[in-house]
Symmetry: D2
Subunit: 445 residues, 4 copies
Amino acid sequence: MKLWGKGRSLDEKVEQFTIGKDREVDLKIAWFDVLGTMAHVQMLASIGLFTSAELGSLMKELKNVLLSIEKGTYRIEEGVEDIHSQVEKDLSERLGEAGEKIHAGRSRNDQVLLDIRLFMRQEIMYLVNRVKSLFDVLIKQSEQHKSSYMPGYSHLQVAMPSSFGLWFGAYAESLTDDLTLLQSAYHLVNRNPLGSAAGYGTSIPVNRKMTSRLLGFEDLNYNSVYAQMSRIKVEKAVSNALASIAATLARFSTDACLFMSQNFDFIRLPDEFTTGSSIMPHKKNPDLFETIRASCNKIQGFPNEITLISGNLPSGYFRDYQLLKERSIGIFEELSSSLEMTLRAVENMIINPNILDDGKYRYLFSVEEVNERVMAGESFRDAYRKVADLIESGDFKPHIEINHIHEGSIGNLCNKEIQERMERLITGFNFPAASAAIERLLSSQ
Amino acid sequence: MKLWGKGRSLDEKVEQFTIGKDREVDLKIAWFDVLGTMAHVQMLASIGLFTSAELGSLMKELKNVLLSIEKGTYRIEEGVEDIHSQVEKDLSERLGEAGEKIHAGRSRNDQVLLDIRLFMRQEIMYLVNRVKSLFDVLIKQSEQHKSSYMPGYSHLQVAMPSSFGLWFGAYAESLTDDLTLLQSAYHLVNRNPLGSAAGYGTSIPVNRKMTSRLLGFEDLNYNSVYAQMSRIKVEKAVSNALASIAATLARFSTDACLFMSQNFDFIRLPDEFTTGSSIMPHKKNPDLFETIRASCNKIQGFPNEITLISGNLPSGYFRDYQLLKERSIGIFEELSSSLEMTLRAVENMIINPNILDDGKYRYLFSVEEVNERVMAGESFRDAYRKVADLIESGDFKPHIEINHIHEGSIGNLCNKEIQERMERLITGFNFPAASAAIERLLSSQ
Amino acid sequence: MKLWGKGRSLDEKVEQFTIGKDREVDLKIAWFDVLGTMAHVQMLASIGLFTSAELGSLMKELKNVLLSIEKGTYRIEEGVEDIHSQVEKDLSERLGEAGEKIHAGRSRNDQVLLDIRLFMRQEIMYLVNRVKSLFDVLIKQSEQHKSSYMPGYSHLQVAMPSSFGLWFGAYAESLTDDLTLLQSAYHLVNRNPLGSAAGYGTSIPVNRKMTSRLLGFEDLNYNSVYAQMSRIKVEKAVSNALASIAATLARFSTDACLFMSQNFDFIRLPDEFTTGSSIMPHKKNPDLFETIRASCNKIQGFPNEITLISGNLPSGYFRDYQLLKERSIGIFEELSSSLEMTLRAVENMIINPNILDDGKYRYLFSVEEVNERVMAGESFRDAYRKVADLIESGDFKPHIEINHIHEGSIGNLCNKEIQERMERLITGFNFPAASAAIERLLSSQ
Amino acid sequence: MKLWGKGRSLDEKVEQFTIGKDREVDLKIAWFDVLGTMAHVQMLASIGLFTSAELGSLMKELKNVLLSIEKGTYRIEEGVEDIHSQVEKDLSERLGEAGEKIHAGRSRNDQVLLDIRLFMRQEIMYLVNRVKSLFDVLIKQSEQHKSSYMPGYSHLQVAMPSSFGLWFGAYAESLTDDLTLLQSAYHLVNRNPLGSAAGYGTSIPVNRKMTSRLLGFEDLNYNSVYAQMSRIKVEKAVSNALASIAATLARFSTDACLFMSQNFDFIRLPDEFTTGSSIMPHKKNPDLFETIRASCNKIQGFPNEITLISGNLPSGYFRDYQLLKERSIGIFEELSSSLEMTLRAVENMIINPNILDDGKYRYLFSVEEVNERVMAGESFRDAYRKVADLIESGDFKPHIEINHIHEGSIGNLCNKEIQERMERLITGFNFPAASAAIERLLSSQ
């Protein structure tokens, strides 16, 4: 059954090829599709296209569909193209004309746009929670290990003293910047495209502000042509923001893999977090971090894929965009897994407390020596040259004492300020507003 | 002269290769480098590392350097690695010990970070102005041509009636979403990395809140290790936001190239905006739009290049990042040119007023017919099937009358709402705060 | 069961996360894994590590496994990491010690390398066949429609006369260049990595030339460290070559979508190849070509994804590479579908025979006029200027007569030369050599 | 002066924007442009469009232009769009009508295609020479250090014994695979596009086989439409092949940076190859390798940029392609520099001869122990488990003796076989054929 079927049937292979995995993928957005239809029919009723009896029976059947989706029993039938068609089919079969009326004033183009928005809005909420959990564990580890020193590197060369407090805290702060970016993407997500129909609006006098309010959107995509164009812009903005989180995790994993090497031996994971080799009986490999890293690198490749698919296409809908749906939906789960696994790894990480005892790190303290001289009145460049001479001649003796007090240094991590920023950010998403609207919609008749 | 020179000299070819175009590129950030040093020396004076006489003479010489940069006469000498070294060299030569003291408590790593931040902060301000100008022209054209109709396409197939009002307005709204994204990148830019030194802070008790205030930053990158990591995150965030603007321009150009084809003939540019062929005497080519499009596509490739260069590297500074500087700086100019040229093209665009007269667009109005029947009480799906039958049998007669009234439709463009959003966005950048701080710094002694 | 299990067990979530879809994906390479083991055990027997009785029973059991794979009944059990472990487990259970011996002198690292090579070698053979079929249809259409003219465009502006002969033929020739590139990737694929073990060889005196011969490889990856590094190089080379074919199909689809627009109306597909709209009763959309295009654009993004995952990693195996396996395997199927669908579309394409009758194409013939004057003795630039003047003044009258005779022009398509190149290319792959070796291996005891 | 100027002039800003850096960039291909014109005029003379006197004077003037280019004095004048226009202008001014005739039967579209092909053909020849030099040094170092052992890593974990012989040799072999890929790209480059004009051929009866022969091409792009499409395909193929070489260098640099870290201390560079820090007096940084790596990563981003610019465009020339020219030309120089610097670094690298003495590497030899037991008759899996038990209980005692003899192992590097492959590859390019043709052309009258 095609919504557009006019007696003729589509070549079977063409159908299979163009539909691809849509029937499967659409189940991930089915719940949101029904939600959107609930708002749409309420709005249509408000402009006289449904009687209140029709509206009541539609709302009731839509809730039945929601229940079936929640129970995992809902299916898109063979021969039905997508979730939108399936829901219309179900309602038409169960309610007759009332079902056949629901598509007035919209198109599958704005419907799928809406579904993806609602899906992303909720997934971002879940993701922010996961980010916050990881953030909390990083801050906790940072505080706990603030007196465990480690070498700081630049160019992978031993540079200056660092600490596990700084290291864990750095990734916590990184996540705050990631959420700043995610928040602006969230604002784009939180705009209502419904009513833009196939990208050119409709002569049905739809009330787009009403559906916006019913679905809890902050704002709407006004211009119908832009609403359609925004599909790519928003999916790209979201994937860029997710990629920024992914970049944080990937870099952390790279650090971790390096620090777990015998040549560093800064950290360890418990044995049950490492894997072995089929031929080398001694191996304890950090597959966990490598899998996080590679998975996050894949996520970082997605924005480019969006551009490759959408670039140089004129405005207006193209079926091409359908091929982005599977991955746009899937990367939330991928990133979420990586966040969860990173959290478990950070929680269980074992720190080597005596790293700096090793002689190869003695030059770490050369700048401390320069700075002591500076504080005692020598000019910086002069002190630098004198210490350099001591090093060259082999006469440098490090004073192993760390005395950093400024904001963001070993002795003053500013974790509290970073936590306050995180709190402000989470408030800024204003998730409860969206949730409250959805609850109201679900409980309306 | 190397800051780190210790008698030995660097292999000449290695020097040339590793420095690359730095001496040239650094001139673009020289002004900001001096600004940062002005804030840094004031802070060092406040913790007792300069007498007030030293501070006065340093500020005076730094202003001289600024003047020389503004006049375009400042140069990075052969044998000097970068702008940071050149300024220290100049001050040391002119002021002796006071100059040799200025590098206390910082590193070239946080200096270049700071320079790029200050540069980007200013360039974003310029760019937002350019975006606003283009936005205004798009809105103006949208209003002016709101009654000029054109076909709307989906799948490049004639779909439903659209208008030049909708078309121009769509790109105006697109720019508001772009600025939403740019604003979050701007917030990341507007954080002070100074004081993080080589990425591990310093034992000099620097006052990072003071330099933040002096330079007009909203906030600071607290954690020193993160400050260094943020280099990539911020350059990527900015380039993603610029790429979003670029995507808007590229799509507009694609539309324009298509609409200028003889097969569409929707718009024209004045002859002096088109180019000819070396062999075909009749050609008037849209090289302007093609150049904008390709240039914007290049910009869209830059975020991926950043990831390729920085991916899978552990935390800590690497020289690799230096190779991003040239392009991170250059894309502002590239995008700015494309914005300017798009504005000129939009301003001068000539609209074909009678497009819909052509018979090939008659099915544009099929949904209008369906909707009329819906408003008269038929169910949507039923009306759809009836109109489909009329089309199949050749009996469809379009009523060419457009009656769209909802938000964002042909008859109700909502340009005012879009303009209000733009105003709120520009206020949200709060550019005057940054400018005022810089002016205060420049006028301090 | 882990090959490396030593009593301890892996955290369940870590296991699930790091294995990902491996159990599923590995079934695609299972057949080749067994093949590789057949060659490996024959080689081990030749150096005395198996008795001939052991070898006989191993070969017999391996053939049973092959049969089970071919029947689709083979499974990787829950708790077993991968295909390599499963086969060793099966053989050990069925044959005892002989099974426990098979992993001598290799590692899962060179095993998976080998499996992917053998898989790709076969898939390339299938793919070349598909390319050849599409090529044949393009040539056939080119010949059939060589007198059907169409406008040629540059900058999307009407430029000079072209023909469907040229258009179809262009894509046929494009495929020959694609196969040139695929052939060099095939040569890299057709090298034996087996024996490089975990990337550092083995103290077991394996005979790598023997396994190369048994498996029909042209050559071997000599250096063991390089053999491991080649994993990325070869997967990237193959994906680049596949991307080149994909680029050909994507551009063809873009042309087709454009030419199917009402504004061009050059070609049509039968109704059963087009899809409709949920709201516009008149639509016949080219979803088929759009899906091909988007799918081929995704394929073109894969080489970049490989670089993102593998870039900046040092030599030696990393688990990260495992995440490439799924897609490296999957894109063969994706590209193959797009080739098949393009073939069906080309075969069924309906050509509009009277395109040039439309007045908007009259300037197509301006260069013909210039050239006539050139052949009559005027200088080119002079003739160009005169025709330009005629066009400006409205006095240009086209002689609609096409008289192109040079190689590769409308009148001399050179399809025969292009076909000969295709034949040489296919011979150059030398597929029968590989197939013959595999058949010998399968029939050996 | 525009070839297509018809009295009207182009808006100045539009001109500046669309021409961009063309006047500069075109000087890099000027020499080849003249060469192409020499072949073109000889061919035009052969079909009667020039008298032999005209041909003689054209050849003479073209040689004058070549000389001026070689001396570096040739310039593209302000107001002239490109090299093609400049040469026609010069010849027309010096020779009158003979100059005005030269553009018959071609277009700037096929001219620039030709120029880039000839440029690339020569640059590939230079590049292959540089690759060969680096290859030779790698083989030399491999042979020289074949008994210097180092740990082999997988997952960055100490794995099995390796050697500098293996390490250097691996990169030598990597370069052979890179050249295999470059060779197929070279075959695409070595095809003549001239005569395809603006992409649709010409009614002038040009002899494309003659120009192919004169310019030393192996073959021609037959189909005129394809000739134009091949622009992107060939630039992408070349950039992919260059990216493959770049990937080899980048990975080598990553290894080198890691091995120069104090935590590895496997290799060193002489002091004059390392750089210092502005604040840390002890630093000796591997900026050289980092710059090579980042530069090579940029090169690896170029193929994606080509796809972003060209993707989803229909067939036919677009000005967009012009924007690829600068970088398509520039990456040869970038890669060439990286090859040269890598060669200097490899030549001067200092090897630490006693790496394996360190206790942290003791488990390197666990597989040797397993294998000894296997050779003595134990089953592999059994021996593996027994050695694993020894390691767990702390009773493992490594026999530090390396006894690898198979192809590609520490004891049998197969450098000779790799060298032979390299020789065959270089012969396969058949550079002398192209050079001989160019010499003949230059010496013809």
